[in-house]
Symmetry: C2
Amino acid sequence: MAVKQQTAVTPTREENFAEWYQEVIKVADLAEHSAVRGCMIIKPWGYGLWEGVQRILGKMIKDTGHQNVYFPLLIPLSFLEKEAQHVEGFAKECAVVTHYRLEADGKGKLVPSPDAELAEPFIIRPTSETIVGTAMAKWVQSYNDLPVLINQWCNVMRWEMRTRLFLRTAEFLWQEGHTAHATPAEAVEETMQMLDVYERFAVDYLAIPVIKGEKTPGERFPGAVNTYTIEAMMQDGKALQAGTSHFLGQNFSKAYDIKFADQSQQLQHVWTTSWGVSTRIIGALIMTHSDDDGLVLPPKIASEQIVLIPVAANDEDMARVLDYCNDLAKELKKIRYDDELIRVTVDKSNRRGGEKFWNAVKKGIPVRVEIGRREIESGMLAVSRRDKAAKDKASIKREDFVANIGSLFDEIQNHLLTRARKFRDDHTHEISSVAELEKMFSNTEDSVNGFALAYFDPAIEHDAQVADKLKELKLTARCMPFGHQEQEGVCIFSGKKTKSKIIFARAY
Amino acid sequence: MAVKQQTAVTPTREENFAEWYQEVIKVADLAEHSAVRGCMIIKPWGYGLWEGVQRILGKMIKDTGHQNVYFPLLIPLSFLEKEAQHVEGFAKECAVVTHYRLEADGKGKLVPSPDAELAEPFIIRPTSETIVGTAMAKWVQSYNDLPVLINQWCNVMRWEMRTRLFLRTAEFLWQEGHTAHATPAEAVEETMQMLDVYERFAVDYLAIPVIKGEKTPGERFPGAVNTYTIEAMMQDGKALQAGTSHFLGQNFSKAYDIKFADQSQQLQHVWTTSWGVSTRIIGALIMTHSDDDGLVLPPKIASEQIVLIPVAANDEDMARVLDYCNDLAKELKKIRYDDELIRVTVDKSNRRGGEKFWNAVKKGIPVRVEIGRREIESGMLAVSRRDKAAKDKASIKREDFVANIGSLFDEIQNHLLTRARKFRDDHTHEISSVAELEKMFSNTEDSVNGFALAYFDPAIEHDAQVADKLKELKLTARCMPFGHQEQEGVCIFSGKKTKSKIIFARAY
């Protein structure tokens, strides 16, 4: 019988993936549940990741010509009522503000003041198409006012009943882009451009391989003509929708009366898009790379890329080691990687050496360097990579370490991406019958099932027989992946010919 | 009779300061009222200023050892009830969430679903001491866990009845810092450190001269032991509180039970602070520097520091001029000023030359450079500074302009600060009797009254006679300015000796 290896996180991924996920968040000190049901407190180490998303994705959004704005948190009910599908999609999970004052109830408690009831209640924005659309109707008069290309970073609220840190919370943080265009072609181009930006961000920065595709009609954003998605596979084989981009056609411009005079002075409704990435992507980051010792971060998104760990037997040694660490840190901080100065810290805490080491492991810091008297004297550093086994240390000359730090980061970044891509490809299977689908997903829920790629006619996704079977297998149609919609095949449910190929998976 | 000078903004500051303010916001396209009462839409040019605040002040907050976090938007009523003064201060202006679902009323309208009423309503945070305190109580166990030094950038809501863009809005954006310490001395030091950070930010970056001081007991933050403020004078002589830092003593740690075991294992309550700067500071920025031609921005906070304005008579010329502009822009963008790459744009719009020029003036871009055939041929640039008269142009050799751009920005930045400081000092008067106070503030509301500095015993600020007189003159005690509390004088109201010297002013 094999001896069970000691891990920093219990349970392991294999033992219980859902609990492992919660535990990684806990040991890395990323976030915690608050006293407000379904709402989380994002702690410094977790918020640092979101700041990374804001910094990097924010720059990509600006570089593609969008400007940041801020719209009100509250939305009048009458705004929501105007787009029928949109109401349908969001009315059931809205936090409603009905009063604007509290008063004492005479028994030591506060109650909403009956004299301060709002004539028209407000909802806390679940998304902002309605209020942005109302403003765009004022802003846009002629073709000269187009395109409108705006984005906001903000909090939104959807009253979810079952919540999980980062993945599904009543309040979450996101960016939502909103654009208006003169022609449908331009709006579609914008929709695709932002999907590409999301893909580039996920792949190049978070090292999360994603599949771009179109959502089936049943999975579209409420009010969209088409919804496009980037889908990622987590280490339990489940899919996670990591970003969406919507072509809204004229649905919102008609509901909110956004019109422009074209070059021949004809009034036309504009064509709009919206697209968003939320704090959910941090959940994807965690579940893509982390292991049984805790969080694993790609260097480009890590708030700390290198930690220098001083190790000394006595105070005198420690002073010398700390000096050395500070000097090395100073040298490293002058180097740029991916256009940003390298982020390096010295662990000056009172923790013992081993604790410092394991703290850095659990927090997912990409590179650890242990420094003691021996390292100073030999000029060699003990370097460990978070993407390799914890005990795996390389002895590297200080000068070489400094000179090659960019390549080391590249190596780690690429290794994480390659490993995740291999995992996904290993767990993606082309299937050609419902029987195969059943077989693939018939094992217990905890094992890795992955993605099933099959011909399927999306027109029948709401047919009772299809819906029941998918429900039974706990599957959803994730997307119609790009590059797979040209050849004809046989729909696994109807037996008819179709060009639509779908990814089925269990999903977050 | 003097000919009235043509201005880009009507009315002028002198004609009607309040309307001028609204008009500057409009012509510079900073923000607008939304359909949600009291809430504003911050447009790209206005949000760019807030991004500048976040970038610069955000770095200063991190450099002083604070880490960013995110707490929930919603706060349970029971949290608010725990600190008596805090309730008193905020209960009357709270937006209250009572339901978590909408339903159709059968008449085509949506109403809060009676089945989805919350057992305990939530308020939208007016500030977060209550929810942060609840979390700190969990986080802090021993002296090793202290200090806690956190900050969040978020939206808050206070249901104001009379709102004005940036200055007073129901929803506003801010940063709120929250810290916990083992000793009162450390907490006071933190409070002062952050007040200094705010002063440095206002003076060095926004070129707003501020007076640091302590608030009188009547003007303290609800629940604070002491509140400190930076007060600025607007061009109508009114005061604007641009940032506050609170020493909360043990008021919140007792209400929320935040305790730690000290080094001798004794349980003690921690000492807390909080401090904030909001979107209001953009109102201060506007009213400190802007003139009758629109917004005036100091280079360090401007989203665009230089605009290159191509001027050409025909398309062929324009192509050549644009090439030249792009080349110059590229050269300038490589230069760093105040640790950031210079922000320069080329106005490629379809506007005519004069319109481009005035657009840049109204938006407050610090440096305008007009470029036409003549400039290209002579190698001389026509450079205008926003802090000087619009017609005031200097002819500068291209190489010299590029080489000296940092000094030019410094000059503008210093000029704005010096001008604002002179204005404030010219309108600050030491007074020694109520009669003098009355005289100073007896002219009409539109003229510049400024700050009155007088000996005053804050213990009597709520006496009916004092309160009535201040109300009659529309004055408030702005602060007890630092550096003026050593010598003894005679209180202008009580006639008794006091060391307290106060600034009285009308205020935003």
